[in-house]
């Protein structure tokens, strides 16, 4: 299915941009008239994906994060968060709840939260090339409760 329209955003992998990225995606999604809860879910999932780019993909450097959000005619909303960072060796392992490579201050819940707060999460990663995470969320909106 072709999207009704698409928004692209490119930011640097600085933690100060986490709030900006989720706010921008959430503002774009508001044309679907989402409920407060749907928007909050979306913000949370986007925040996790963008944080992963910053703390994992570009761990000791600053790189660029490419965000593409699309609105589909059936009310589906998708957000692709892509980086050109280190990539993930074992995606399945990385998606296990509580698995983290980053020690005590990270819970290892990034992917678990993304999965819980969106309808579908697709991850494509190539070591040394980068990772693309696509979040799909159906926006039922306020119209039918």
């Amino acid at each position: 299915m072709k999207p009704v329209q698409t928004m692209k955003l490119e930011i640097e992998s600085r933690s100060v941009n986490e709030a900006f990225a989720r706010a921008a995606v959430s503002a774009f999604a508001s044309q679907l008239d989402p409920t407060v809860e749907e928007l909050s879910d979306l913000r949370t999932a986007v925040s996790e994906a963008v944080t992963n780019c910053i703390v994992h993909a570009y761990r000791n450097s600053v790189g660029r994060i490419f965000i593409t959000a699309s609105v589909y005619p059936d009310g589906m909303f998708s957000v692709k968060i892509r980086d050109k960072g280190c990539g993930i060796e074992d995606v399945e392992k990385a998606m296990e709840p509580l698995f983290t490579t980053l020690g005590d201050e990270r819970a290892g819940l990034g992917f678990a939260v993304m999965e819980s707060f969106s309808d579908r999460v697709r991850v494509r990663s190539v070591v040394g090339k980068g990772t693309a995470v696509t979040l799909y969320k159906r926006i039922r909106g306020r119209a039918d409760g």
Binding site: S15, V16, E18, A19, R22, E37, S40, D41, R43, T44, S47, E48, T51, I54, V55, P97, L98, D104, E105, R106, A107, L109, G110, A112, V113, S116
Partner: protein
Amino acid sequence: MPVTFRKQRRKLVAQIRGEVDHHAAEPLRREIDNRIRADKPSVLRLDFRNVTFMDSSGVGLVMGRYRLLRTWGGKLELSGMSRTVERIMQLSGIEKIAAVITEKGSSHETRTNHEAGN
């Protein structure tokens, strides 16, 4: 100030404000750790009622403070959690390490009514 403290006998209440993401977690961690290292409270309550956004960085924040508290046998309580905050906390099984305090305050009334309607 992203966090303010209130002392009730041996209990220290840390009221967290605003957005808790990876960016905000670091200064929060520093402020809370400085305070609890000095006070060594027997109970630390992290209060989330003024938190407007939280992702899994908030869980890391809670788990890290739990580890520090444990070094002197301190206990951890969580209060004022919104439904979203609670959902994220539950993914981590945090209720095994912290007591979740639910209060019948004005800030919770809307939520309770909403849930009753579902």
